[in-house]
């Protein structure tokens, strides 16, 4: 036993804290964001004016919350394409609630929105875990169904800014320490979910499931229960986003949220969440969401044709997955050569 002590090299240590920080998945996207902001500010100092920053935060809020939710699902090697439809349903629902009961306490409205989102997420979760069909297909179908329900419910009806209580609308205007209230909510969400994923057993289990769900099952992790939880969490957060949407934007109707899902997936992927699960963090997804929404404002501030925004988003997504792939190839090669030279 003493001989092995002397012979064994100290493994895993000797890695400087800086190196491990830099290797974090969030660094590329965070740096991209920082660079973007700096470059834009140099060209147009108004970009970081009080109003400018406030607008940035407001724009990002909804996407951040949804990216955190969807990121959690993607970590388990699943996906939920119906989030746009869920947002639409809850947003319209919020409008309807206010129309029906204008004096209802705002907290109740939040509760209803979250519950509705949770329910819709649970339906998705059940179908995925019970039927064992790829979530891509299931949630694609649910995207249609939920959108159809939204259309059926709303018809041509729309609710406008005037239809909601002033206090509710002010959530998107009033600030706390310079940060809009809805953005504060978003930040709280990010922190809570990040802690959940990093510091609790169910949270860590999600990563294991995403890496290798068979092995996870072998270690006693209740895979179906955890995956269901991820979908319910995603639904709840999307519900929250839906309620906040009704506060921030001036109209909600049958088409609210259409096409949003792919933007959210983009945000998560750009933020470092691997599309096949098992790695990444919701903090990264949140930064990815901020990055993508900031680009629009950035382009305006830089007087670049706003039409470039979509294209740039596309390039970002491709770059993100390319970088991830190159990194993993490099790592595998390092592993292989070290063993080969030893053997």
């Amino acid at each position: 036993m003493t001989t092995s002590h002397a012979l064994a090299p100290a493994l895993g240590t000797g890695r400087s804290p800086f190196a491990s920080l830099v290797r974090q998945r969030e660094v590329p996207v965070a740096s991209a964001l920082v660079v973007l902001v700096i470059v834009t500010t140099i060209a147009n100092p108004l970009f970081v004016s009080a109003q400018g920053v406030k607008d940035l935060m407001l724009n990002a809020t909804i996407t951040v919350i949804m990216a955190v939710g969807l990121g959690t699902v993607i970590i388990t090697n699943n996906i939920d394409l119906s989030v746009g439809s869920i947002l639409g349903l809850v947003a319209f629902g919020t409008g309807s609630v206010f129309a029906a009961a204008p004096d209802i306490p705002i907290v109740f409205v939040f509760a209803i929105g979250l519950a509705l989102g949770a329910l819709l997420g649970a339906i998705n979760g059940f179908l995925v875990t019970v039927a064992r069909v790829p979530s891509l297909v299931i949630t694609l179908g649910m995207l249609y169904i939920y959108r159809g329900v939204n259309n059926a419910w709303a018809g041509g009806q729309q609710y406008f800014a005037g239809d909601r209580p002033a206090a509710f609308g002010r959530l998107s205007v009033d600030t706390v320490l310079g940060v809009p209230i809805i953005t504060v909510i978003a930040i709280v969400v990010v922190v809570l979910v990040a802690v959940f994923l990093a510091r609790t057993r169910p949270g860590r289990d999600l990563y294991a499931i995403g890496s290798d769900d068979e092995a996870a099952r072998l270690f006693g992790i209740p895979v179906s229960k955890r995956v269901l939880t991820a979908f319910v969490l995603n639904g709840t957060l999307t519900g929250l986003a839906g309620v906040l949407y009704a506060s921030r934007f001036n109209s909600v109707g049958a088409t609210t949220g259409t096409g949003l899902e792919l933007d959210i997936v983009a945000a998560a992927v750009v933020g470092g969440i691997a599309i096949f699960g098992g790695s990444g963090s919701v903090v990264g997804a949140a930064i990815g969401a901020v990055l993508l929404t900031t680009i629009t404002s950035s382009l305006t501030a830089l007087n670049v044709d706003k039409f470039w925004q979509q294209a740039i988003v596309g390039v970002l997504i491709l770059t993100a997955i390319l970088v991830e792939r190159i990194a993993s190839i490099r790592k595998a090669r390092r592993l292989r050569t070290s063993e080969a030279t030893n053997a």
Binding site: M1, T2, T3, S4, H5, L7, A8, P9, A10, L11, G12, T13, R15, S20, V195, R199, T200, R201, R204, D205, Y207, A208, G210, S211, D212, A215, A216, L218, F219, G220, I221, G278, S279, G280, K331, R334, L335, R336, T337, S338, E339, A340, T341, N342, A343
Partner: protein, 519 residues
């Protein structure tokens, strides 16, 4: 020659896990006819035997992956059934495989405690406690690994140590290591052994499977020998020699059950020169002539399949060349190899040899898709006719040509693979483990087929881990060890001992009488 496994060894220690006379069949294939092993507390037991001896089936039974059809399975003296790996784990049996897989995004400590991390009162993971527990485990093993480090990128050696740490933390009473040193360097092997000895001294029962005699004799307290699916003997390591073990492993009359025809060996069909792939195989050269069956023997991991795959073009090689019919074969291009007349019956029937979900007919004609086509179009009728024709010739037993090939027995599946390649009219056929997992009857049919092919002038390279097969069928035997060709034997010179010695690097039996200078 069989030592009664029920008698205690020289020092009566508590038997923790015992398998007696276990039998396991898969369909018509008897994987285990009478498997026995006795794992005692505070003892390291090495399980040795050729490939196909039944060792991995034994491990799977002990791990709860399979259940024995019959036989006694005792834990602490009481009969037990493991219906699943989870139950085996819960009972305290931990298995470390050759390729451990940790969850890459979890830290080392989290991997050790996955699913049961210590928590604080608020329900959060108590990272400090987890870190401390992990450190304590590593201290016990005498191996410093940073518990907070993310598992991604760790070497296999480190991953194994972490798996062992996991096993200890689960209070494993039995630790089974399946070929643990295959991917390790010398220093890492030493470290692993230190850990194993430490565990033994603390009272665990340890079993490990290895082909390397220096390791077997260096680490174990007892050696259990298996052959042809049955327990043969158990020895106390300090009281036995390598030749005795080798004899126990192979000792059978290699009677010529094989209809080896005397074929007229013609010109060289394929020549391999200095084939090298960094870290996998090195400077491999040989030739195969028309009508000749060349056997390629060696242990698992020797690099035989890798050489064949590189030759055929599935994998790349870094140096060397392959010449067939006098012309240089383009590397990394299976289609070119097929066109040049090479056929390859791969090792893994289910994943490489056949498309399981497709019909027998389509599998058979997959290689004929260009030959059967006119103007790029394949007539389904001609395809069916060709498939039915070949099925008949090889006597493939199937309910219907349209059934998925997964419904066939192993032997018939192998016939479909053979048919598919024979249909391409090859001049050189590589067969990798041609009779693995096949019932005895079909085995001899396959041997007859291969022999007949050689008789017709086809050059055959047969990779096999079954000594009798190699010795019975081959005109020449090449032996590989750790990526290099270490010996060539003509049919007459090839005996079980000479081949195994060349394959394991053990000293040949006739050079020394007292071989035990290893300790």
């Amino acid at each position: 020659m069989t030592i009664d496994p029920t008698s205690d060894g020289p020092s009566p220690t508590a038997t923790v896990l015992e398998l007696r006379g276990a039998r396991k069949t898969f369909g018509a294939v008897v994987a285990l006819s009478s498997g026995s092993v006795r794992l005692r507390a505070g003892e390291i037991n090495a399980l040795v035997g050729e490939n196909g001896a039944g060792k991995s089936t034994m491990v799977k039974i002990l791990a709860g992956v399979h259940q024995p059809d019959s036989g006694d399975f005792l834990f602490d003296g009481h009969p037990i059934v493991f219906r699943s790996p989870a139950e085996s784990k819960a009972a305290g049996v931990s298995v470390i495989y050759q390729e451990p897989t940790l969850f890459p995004d979890l830290t080392v400590a989290e991997n050790i405690f996955v699913g049961r991390q210590p928590t604080t009162r608020l329900g959060f993971i108590d990272r400090a406690a987890m870190r401390a527990d992990a450190r304590a485990l590593f201290d016990r093993l005498g191996v410093p690994i940073d518990p907070d480090r993310v598992a991604e990128g760790l070497s296999i050696a480190d991953q194994q140590i972490i798996e062992i740490a996991k096993a200890i933390s689960l209070d494993a009473k039995v630790l089974i290591m399946d070929e643990p040193t295959a991917a390790l360097s010398g220093v890492e092997v030493e470290r692993l052994f230190g850990v194993a000895r430490a565990l033994r001294d603390r009272g665990s029962a340890i079993m490990f499977i290895s082909h390397r005699f220096d390791e077997v004799f260096g680490l174990s307290d007892r050696i259990t020998v298996m052959r042809d699916g049955a327990f043969i003997s158990e020895h106390t390591t300090s009281e036995v020699s390598t030749p005795e073990i080798v004899r126990a492993m192979v000792g059978r009359d290699v009677d010529q059950l094989f209809p080896k025809q005397e074929a007229r060996v013609g010109d060289t069909v394929v020549r391999v020169d200095g084939l090298t792939r960094a870290g996998v195989f090195h400077d491999v050269s040989f030739e195969v002539r028309a009508g000749e069956i060349v056997g390629l023997a060696g242990l698992v991991g020797a690099g035989r399949t890798e050489v064949a795959r590189a030759l055929f073009g599935i994998d790349r090689y870094d140096a060397g060349s392959v010449t067939i019919g006098g012309r240089r074969l383009a590397p990394r291009d299976p289609m070119a190899s097929i066109r040049a007349g090479i056929g390859f019956v791969p090792e893994d029937r289910r994943k490489q040899g056949l498309v399981m979900d497709m019909s027998v007919s389509r599998n058979t004609t997959l290689t004929l898709r260009t030959t059967l086509s006119r103007l790029g179009l394949v007539s389904a009728r001609r395809e069916r006719e060709a498939a039915a024709d070949w099925s008949r010739r090889l006597q493939v037993k199937t309910g219907s040509q349209e059934l998925p090939v997964s419904t066939l027995s192993g032997g018939n599946q192998q016939k479909v693979v053979l048919a598919k390649w024979l249909a391409t009219d090859p001049t050189f056929l590589i067969v990798d483990e041609p009779t693995r997992g096949i019932d005895v009857g079909t085995k001899s049919e396959v041997h007859r087929l291969i022999s007949d092919l050689a008789g017709r002038g086809i050059a055959v390279l047969m990779i096999s881990s079954e000594l009798p097969e190699v010795l019975g069928m081959a005109d020449r035997v090449l032996v590989m060890r750790e990526g290099r060709l270490t010996a060539t034997f003509d049919r007459d010179d090839a005996t079980p001992e000479t081949v195994i010695n060349a394959a394991t690097g053990a000293e040949p039996a006739h050079t020394t009488t007292t071989t035990e200078t290893r300790r």
